[in-house]
Symmetry: C2
Subunit: 417 residues, 2 copies
């Protein structure tokens, strides 16, 4: 099977892609049109494909991976399993410590969803930032492509954006790790952005493997006081231009933006500014609408991501309770993921009116069917733990409003007859 874009240009999308789109009520022509337009991408992994973009439910990504100071491969594999079990659409492996290739191989074995990487991470871990060359980056990209990575994030911060970032007098500076490493590379080598310099070669690799290019967001703010200045605007414009260039060369593109820390009332306008600038599916990390939620950033993130999803974000990256504190464990991955699945769904109700799951739960609630609710919970185990061992809800006991009113309405109906 060739690339998705080639198939769309030639006429018909592969059956696999059509089936995936059909599951969400998208016909083959509509999917083809969206692919040609650039508003829908398909991340492929083996015989599976995941659609992201226009008219599709908001997707949720989970970041996992070791850091240079905390390496526990078994834990990363467990996090990957937890992510898939609790409904992650994609997983990004950000490992920078330990035997990265072997960890990635274990993650592959434990999961079926598309995997994303940020190639400069592995490269920096392998050769260090000081000695890194463009060839090192290319070699990582080739190797990761060969092993079946579905999407890669590259940061296209350039000298102009770096100068703008410098002038903005931000409190938190740059909080994108991939972006920061790219800036350091540029400085150490007194060079332009390596991914721009090697862009055609990289696009050739991506096209051969039908890898989705994710245009990283170096200029996102690390606090609500930062990040909406000229650097962000310049980066958005640059990324859109690079994205168009990549698509013309047969590479699928998503753009990262509107993430990081963003004041609540600025989230929707920011999302719309990205959607207006280019047709690419928008990938949003967070955003966090406040900086005060240490230990509860998944909760604040749900508020931000719901606003982003409702305004048009296509793909959101979950934030765990460990954000700003340390590498999350499996429990934190789960909590963060569920919070963002909730945010995604809140947005899908607004964007598409997809409120059928809510209606189903409401009907079960009205029928006081606890087991039915447990079975449909995003996290059945947690729901059961919180419910305790009482057979009925202990909240209202004999004075359950639903029960009281049901009985009352029934009596009123009988009286009327």
């Amino acid at each position: 099977m060739g690339t998705v874009i080639d198939a769309a240009i030639d006429g018909d999308l592969p059956d696999l892609i059509c089936r995936v789109a059909a599951r969400e009520g998208i016909g083959p022509d509509q999917a083809r049109e969206a692919v040609l337009e650039g508003s829908m991408v398909f991340m492929r992994r083996g015989d599976h494909a995941l659609g992201i973009g226009r008219d599709l439910c908001t997707r949720v990504n989970v970041n996992i991976g070791t850091s240079s100071t905390l390496v526990c491969p078994e834990e990363e594999v467990e996090k990957a399993r937890v992510a898939e079990r609790f409904g992650a659409d994609t997983i990004t492996d950000l490992s920078m410590g330990g035997d990265i290739r072997s960890i990635r191989e274990s993650i592959f074995q434990a999961t079926t969803v598309p995997l994303t990487t940020v190639p400069i991470y592995e490269t920096a871990a392998r050769v260090g930032l000081a000695g890194m060359t463009g060839e090192d980056l290319l070699s990582t990209i080739r190797e990761q492509a060969d092993c079946g990575i579905s999407s890669m994030v590259l940061h296209f911060v350039d000298r102009k954006i770096l100068a703008l970032l410098e002038r903005e007098e931000r409190i938190s500076g740059v909080v994108s790790k991939g972006g920061a490493m790219t800036c350091v590379y540029m400085h150490l080598n007194d060079q332009e952005n390596p991914f721009i310099e090697l862009f055609d070669e990289i696009l050739g690799i991506f096209r051969r493997h039908d890898i989705v290019l994710s245009l990283g967001n170096t200029a996102r703010g690390g606090g609500i006081h930062d990040g909406l200045g000229p650097a962000l605007q310049e980066e958005r414009q640059r990324n859109c231009a690079l994205g168009r260039y990549a698509r013309e060369r047969g590479v699928q593109v998503i753009i990262e933006g509107a993430g990081g820390h963003v004041r609540y009332d600025r989230i929707a306008p920011l999302v719309r500014s990205y959607k207006k600038a280019a047709p690419f599916p928008l990938f949003v990390a967070g955003p966090l609408p406040t900086d005060i939620a240490l230990g509860y950033d998944h909760v604040a993130g749900c508020a931000g991501a719901a606003a982003a999803s409702a305004a048009g974000a296509d793909y959101i990256c979950s934030i765990s309770p460990s954000e700003h504190l340390g590498l999350p464990g499996p429990d934190q991955v789960r909590e963060g993921l569920i919070a963002f699945r909730i945010a995604a769904h809140i947005g899908d109700i607004v964007k598409y009116g997809k409120d059928a799951p809510d209606k189903e739960i409401s009907l079960l609630r009205a029928g006081l069917d606890r087991e039915g609710q447990f079975a449909r919970a995003l996290d059945e185990q947690r729901a059961r733990e919180l419910a305790g061992d009482t057979p009925d809800c202990s909240m209202c006991g004999d004075f359950c409003a639903i029960r009281l009113m049901k009985a009352l309405m029934e009596k009123r109906r009988l009286k009327e007859r």
Copy 2:
């Protein structure tokens, strides 16, 4: 000291009230004007007062209390302590089981914030719904007033609203417990709403004790498919009229609305419809913008409450992870409260630009000051637990973006010289 309204009419608010307002930058004239207008109330408890309403930060209430089937007085006292310790502005005791007066007395002893009740709860627990009389309700109200309750919730659902509710064919019917009990009372006694019939007498008691009247929201939806029909509109109109009547008789008023389960995009318009209908501070329970978040309703609630707070809600009622599952324990009270304090603050940033706490945290983060962040965390213990025992954040290790970029910017500055 007389009532707050009397003082405002006579000229000057009491020193206590002026000091409370001054803490949030509200001068005595501004506070007086807002009290006269009805847009600001002060709940009093002993020598303390809490302002709620226009130009004041969004307040957060926590519900506690036994149910008829789960009674553990020590646990309720612990929940009250946890609520106050983690920043609840008010606590509502909804006890319906055990020795309610003694439980309330223990809660009083364990806390300093204003306490709210829903008098029909204690009355129903004491005399049952079947035999309840208006005199029973009055006697509870008198007794609760005497023991120092700061605010009481009464539901003014009437025959017209009940008939409208019946016609709406809701999935979940009525989910307001106080409202449902009031409806049952009306049906059993074949009477109009008892609180309307006894309104002047009740207002006399409230005025004597300067108790804030909270106009309950019987018609709120129990699922996002319910609750925005004619019954809600009629109730809003009726409550606004009753509120104006109460204020003319010297009683402070807040109105409950825009709560329950509300589609995300309908939250802001609904909040604004209440703010337009009357000047009273708006008290919002939730709202939950989706029904699928069983076990994580505090997270979904944060998304809903942030939207409500940003749109103008003055006072929000926290939802715990145990919502729809059972009576929360102290840990769930804490989690729910923190989620709603985050929502309140997200709204305050939008409404008032009160982003100073965010700036403070951002500066600490930029300085990599973990201890400073812990000390300012909403829940220091949880933040420390999540951080584990590593001295630095384990997320990025040697490749911390903030650190890398700081070093880089410093080098660039030196080079320029």
